[in-house]
């Protein structure tokens, strides 16, 4: 038992060190970015990392926390992207206003799609959300105002690294708060056992729709940021493959772990860039890594573990000194 106790302690300290290094790295990036010393290529990657962090964390609320298997996230992102871009181009609304409008539009879409489809379970829900994502894409292709398949150019470049970073941080904060509240607990209960959750007084339908709408709103935010960074959007950017990309981030990071979603969104955004030197083999290596990962750790990088747990455990040990005793009974 002593070794188990030791290992847990080491793991907790290790995660503190990694977090500290991560924050230091982030601070360094902020400083050089603030001084204008970062080159445009890396600046772009960093913004896309932030956009993907928002997407992954928000999809995790739906798939990982509430257990509703949705693969239509790119659809909500597209709604946010097009609504905010069109408002910027035609009405010249301020950036903050178009982002909020994009979120609101995506949230409304979340209600419209959520209420009928969330009575479906598992595979059926997945197919319904997939269908929704495709419908959005086809609608965009066939509308005039969206520029159809040619895409929508001339979006003012307004997404900088700092804005993207701040909004990613906000997303993480809001969604973690939600998860750690009584409402988040109700969502977890729905994931674990819908019937039992209902008999404990949890309105399962309401929480499924809530998770869906909150997740959709943040996907809309990510879409708005993306549009105002790329300055050009087309329906291809929001295809089924984008939904799958976000889903892979969530599953790889660990369904239900916000820390895992952040980590894997960052890694999976940067990895394809890092692999550019292998040219043709790039996507092969990327896919191989995913396959190996799923074979070795099917529960994802971090499972359901959160970095905050390390802090809490260390704090409790300091405060009471009894954690060692509790670990004797502990299994994990």
């Amino acid at each position: 038992m002593a070794t188990q106790f030791g290992w847990k302690k080491i793991r907790d300290y290790l995660s503190l060190i990694v977090t500290a290094l991560f924050l230091l790295g982030l601070a360094y990036i902020n400083v050089i970015s603030g001084l204008g010393l970062i080159d445009r290529y890396y600046n772009g990657i960093l913004i896309l990392v932030m956009v993907n962090v928002i997407l992954a964390v928000s999809l995790n609320l739906i798939n990982g926390i509430t257990g509703q298997f949705s693969i239509g996230h790119a659809g909500f992102m597209a709604v946010g992207a097009y609504v905010s871009a069109l408002l910027s181009i035609h009405l010249r609304w301020p950036f903050a206003a178009v982002l909020v409008a994009g979120m609101a539009a995506a949230a409304v879409m979340g209600v419209v799609v959520g209420i009928p489809t969330l009575r479906l379970k598992g595979d059926y829900l997945a197919i319904a959300t997939l269908g929704f994502g495709e419908i959005i894409r086809v609608v965009i292709v066939n509308l005039d105002i969206t520029g159809g398949p040619r895409g929508l150019p001339g979006i003012p470049p307004k997404t900088g690294f700092f804005v993207a970073e701040a909004l990613a941080a906000l997303t993480i904060l809001v969604i973690s708060n939600l998860i750690n509240s009584a409402h988040g607990r109700a969502m977890l209960a729905v994931r674990e056992d819908e019937v039992a959750a209902e008999t404990m007084g949890v309105n399962a339908t309401r929480y499924k729709v809530t998770a869906f709408v909150v997740g959709a709103a943040f996907a809309g935010l990510a879409g708005g940021l993306y549009a105002h960074y790329m300055m050009f959007i087309d329906p291809k950017s929001f295809s089924f493959f984008k939904s799958v990309e976000v889903l892979v981030m969530v599953v790889l990071g660990g369904l239900g772990s916000v820390t895992g979603s952040i980590l894997s969104a960052a890694v999976l955004t940067y990895l394809p860039e890092m692999l550019r030197q292998f040219a043709m083999l790039r996507m092969v290596i990327y896919s191989m890594l995913l396959i190996v990962m799923m074979l070795v750790r099917p529960q994802g990088l971090l499972g359901t573990w959160e970095v905050s747990q390390a802090f809490r455990d260390l704090w409790r040990r300091r405060e009471t000194g009894e954690a060692g005793r509790r670990d004797v009974h502990g299994i994990a």
């Binding site: 019937v195 008999t199 502990g330 299994i331």
Partner: protein, 254 residues
């Protein structure tokens, strides 16, 4: 007036009458048993009372309110909690979180407030504190941070009862609480049920196949066979009732 009153309750699944014209009345503070051979419709009655199924005909009144057509979570709000025949815990959540769900009804923070608050909130702390105290009543506090699925069987049963009671019900429905338990565990369970009834001033209705438990524990028993009530009364009477003996052992045994 009785706390739970069931009148002419009928549930048809297609052509099959799972429950047919059942009347029941349970007074506040009673400990009532519901027995009958497999497939007699006992769990169906639980599902009808808790809103999992909607009755085909009949009335369910609890504490003066009509429960027909309410959803399970609405029934819970009226003060009915239950456990399941096949344990339904929130397996991948820690033991303490399983109990905390019970405080769900009393949590006041709105959705918006939950999203913008600072990570540590007073309400959450209070809930955690209460949940720990609650677990210690059931001698599960030393398991608080373990995942529910890692508990041994007997403790899972106990946790399910604890979780149901965390919702502060007036009526507790127990569906085969002693299933899969050895005689010693059954005896402990019997003491636990008696104790929680007094401690929480509960009314309890329980389904059970373990006759020694039912006969020792219940003050009154309803016997169901093929969806119909065939007998009702105190344990001593039920034991001698020829209809009951026939239902359990066959006609020749009478």
């Amino acid at each position: 007036m009785a706390l739970l009153e069931i009148k002419g309750l009928t549930k048809a699944f297609g052509g099959l009458l799972a429950v047919s014209n059942v009347d029941m009345a349970i007074e506040t503070g009673e400990l009532v048993g519901l027995i009958g051979p497999n497939g007699a419709g006992k769990t169906t009655i639980f599902n009808l009372v808790t809103g999992v199924f909607e009755p085909t005909r009949g009335e369910i009144t609890f504490d003066g309110c009509r429960l027909n057509g309410l959803k399970p979570y609405q029934v819970t709000k009226h003060g009915i909690a239950r456990t399941f025949q096949n344990i339904r815990l929130f397996q991948n959540l820690p033991v303490i979180e399983n109990v905390k769900i019970g405080y769900h009804l009393n949590a006041k923070s709105s959705l918006w407030a939950s999203m913008v608050r600072f990570p540590i909130l007073r309400e959450e702390r209070e809930i955690t504190q209460k949940a720990r105290e609650f677990l210690s009543i059931f001698e599960l506090d030393y398991r608080a941070d373990e995942l529910a699925k890692n508990l041994p069987y007997g403790e899972q049963r106990r946790l399910e009862i604890a979780r149901a009671l965390a919702a502060r019900p007036k009526l507790l429905l127990l569906d085969e609480p002693a299933a899969g338990m050895n005689p010693q565990e059954t005896q402990e369970l019997l003491n636990l049920i008696r104790w929680v009834r007094d401690q929480f001033s509960l009314t309890i209705l329980l389904i059970e196949h373990d006759m020694s438990l039912v006969m020792q524990l219940c003050e009154r028993i309803y016997v169901l066979d093929y969806g119909v009530t065939i007998a009702e009364g105190p344990p001593a009477e039920i034991k001698r009732n020829p209809k009951v003996i026939e239902a359990y052992l066959g006609e020749e045994a009478v």
